[in-house]
């Protein structure tokens, strides 16, 4: 790197610096003062900006970082593959994941692995969203839910049950087999759009 050259003495002759007269704030005269009083007086009749929170809940911004959600494929299988990338990405060390192998009898997600234990500690989470960026299967996303206060530390460690998204129409509660003639790549590409009757093993 080049060295920064110092100023020579005559480069910055103080006498050459021009001093300009600037209008001083504060000399506003009587009307100026009256104006200030008018501002506060007229504000009395304006509508307050306050949102009466517990009664009125203003919607958040669309992409507000709220509570996490573990998503499902359209047939109900979990998207999480237990890769722990979210846990590795987390700067606050708030996520704990334990993966396990899928078997034919106990299939929670398409492919080889699924997240057996999934915990997010909301006492540590800073809602930065790096886990969402890290997730390779879009299993982990964030909702707009922000009312996360509670009265004990235990309650603020959310388990997999608390984080999993709901079963929507066409979904089946895992464990159940994959869609017939589809593999995990098909799932990944979104070619499975709903559960097949043959997947319903509990029927």
């Amino acid at each position: 790197m080049a060295e920064i050259e110092a100023f020579k003495n005559n480069d910055r002759d103080l006498k050459k610096v021009e001093f300009t007269q600037v209008d001083q704030p504060g000399s506003v005269g009587f009307l100026g003062h009256a104006k200030g009083f008018w501002v506060t007086f007229s504000t009395i009749f304006k509508k307050p900006e306050t949102v009466e929170y517990p009664e009125v809940k203003a919607p958040t911004q669309e992409r507000f970082h709220g509570r996490h959600q573990l998503n499902r494929h359209p047939d109900g299988l979990e998207k999480c593959i237990g890769c722990e990338l979210c846990a590795w990405a987390c700067p606050a060390d708030a996520i704990y994941v334990e993966g396990a192998d899928n078997t034919e009898e106990n299939r929670m997600s398409p492919g080889e692995r699924y997240g057996k234990v999934y915990q997010i500690n909301y006492l540590r989470c800073v809602f930065c969203g790096l886990c969402i960026e890290a997730c390779p299967t879009r299993a982990l996303t964030m909702t707009n839910e922000y009312e996360l206060a509670d009265d004990s530390r235990e309650k603020l460690i959310f388990e997999k049950d608390d984080l999993l998204g709901p079963l929507r129409a066409g979904m089946l509660m895992p464990p159940h087999p994959m869609y017939p003639d589809m593999n995990d790549t098909n799932y990944y590409k979104g070619e499975v759009t709903q559960a097949h009757p043959s997947q319903d093993v509990n029927k």
Binding site: E3, I4, E5, A6, F7, N9, L14, T40, P48, E49
Partner: protein, 415 residues
């Protein structure tokens, strides 16, 4: 019949009832005014203010009071115990005492007796109020001193200096009223204003009183004694629980007391505004109390308005304003008023009065022009001198041979 004669015959029980009424009135009005102030300031800042406890948050102040009463009462180890306990008591008692001479209604019927809502009518009523207000300052100073801590001491010192400075201006502004009313009794002063309010006749006095009463009550923009940004809580930093509540109570009762005094001395007291004199007989004379309260509330609104609008003054500006402007102006004004009053009392020809007034106006204009010229000259002098700064300028760092940025030192921030 004069009020002094009217209430002079009050039996003991009636005086007790009146004292109780004054006390209840002060406390209730304090609770309401705390709420009112917070709501108003809130609206001025485009937020609703307290609105959760009771309808419209009306009993917020009561809830706060209960909360304060239930808090632990801490006395610091370094505090002077006796004085520390005495200070809030002084503050709270004196502020109530000034209400004794304030006439709240005209002649009314209370429990079958003809009387007026005024506890007592001293011939030197207004002086009594001033004296009581001065004693009340002891509460603040002693609280600051006895806390055994720096910020309260600073707050107490500031407030003593402040009240001394502004009490002079306040007293001087009242002199003109005394001269015109020919009495220091509050009820006589009210009676003397039955035609025109002194706020109109003695407008400069009214303005000076209005300014100094804000200084007297330690309210924004003159709240230097408890400047939150500079002195933590000021003189009551070390106070907690009920003792703090007493200071709080005292502050608001004081505001109402000075507003009531201003109403009495300048806004015609309990009399109805011009052209509404017929209302004074409504409700058997009790309607005058409504006029009195509405005038007090107007003052209270101005207090809140000031707080919502103006930033706190710097201490030296505040002192300069008091000593160099308010006091000289009041002295000159008193001279003018005294001369005019004397002329009219001696029934001097009208031409003299008008002539004197014109000379005064001319003099004021001349002084004003003189001040303006001096100011312009000063500004010009600054502009002419602007080619080079005359003040000391620190040397610029020009003699450094080289600054190496490529190899940061080991152990530095980025290393």
């Amino acid at each position: 019949m004069k009020t002094a004669e009217l209430i002079g015959n009050d039996p003991g029980w009636l005086i007790t009832v009146k004292a109780l009424l004054v006390f209840i009135f002060c406390v209730v009005l304090t609770l309401l005014s705390v709420w009112g102030e917070r709501r108003l300031v809130g609206r001025m800042q485009q937020r609703p203010g307290p609105n959760r406890v009771g309808p419209f948050g009306l009993i917020q102040a009561l809830a706060d009071g209960v909360k304060l009463a239930l808090k632990e009462d801490i006395i610091p180890a370094a505090a002077d115990k006796v004085v520390f306990i005495l200070a809030p008591i002084i503050s709270a008692t004196t502020c109530f005492m000034s209400f004794a001479v304030i006439p709240i209604t005209g002649p009314v019927n209370l429990f079958g007796r003809q009387t007026a809502m005024q506890l007592t009518d001293l011939p030197i009523g207004v002086l009594y109020v001033l004296a009581i207000a001065s004693v009340g300052v002891y509460g603040i100073i002693l609280a600051g001193w006895s806390s055994g801590s720096t910020y309260p001491l600073l707050g107490g010192l500031r407030s003593s200096a402040q009240v001394i400075s502004y009490e002079i201006a306040m007293g001087l502004s009242l002199v003109a009223v005394f001269i015109y009313a020919g009495s220091m009794s509050t009820s006589d002063i009210v009676a003397a204003q039955s035609n025109t309010w002194y706020a109109v006749v003695l407008f400069p006095s009214f303005v000076i009183y209005a300014i100094s009463m804000v200084g007297e009550t330690n309210r924004a923009p003159f709240d230097l004694a408890e400047a939150e940004g500079e002195l933590v809580g000021g003189f009551h930093t070390e106070y907690s629980s009920l003792k703090f509540a007493l200071f709080f109570l005292a502050e608001y009762v004081n505001i109402i007391a000075v507003s009531a005094l201003a109403t009495t001395l300048f806004l015609g007291g309990y009399h109805a505004p011009p052209f509404l004199g017929f209302t004074e007989n409504w409700l058997g004379g009790w309607f005058t109390a409504i006029w009195f309260f509405s005038k007090v509330l107007v003052f209270f609104f101005v207090f809140v308005w000031l707080r919502g609008t103006l930033p706190r003054l710097r201490y030296d500006q505040f002192m300069q304003f008091g000593w160099k402007i308010l006091i000289p102006v009041s002295i000159v004004w008193i001279l003018v008023v005294a001369t005019l009053r004397l002329l009219s009392l001696q029934s001097a020809p009208r031409i003299y009065v008008v002539g004197f007034a014109s000379v005064v106006v001319l003099l004021v204009m001349l002084v004003n022009i003189g001040f303006d010229n001096a100011k312009n000259k000063k500004i010009k002098a600054i502009v002419d001198d602007s080619s080079a700064p005359s003040f000391a300028v620190p040397e610029l760092p020009m003699n450094i041979s080289s600054i190496n940025v490529s190899a940061p030192k080991k152990g530095s921030d980025r290393g």
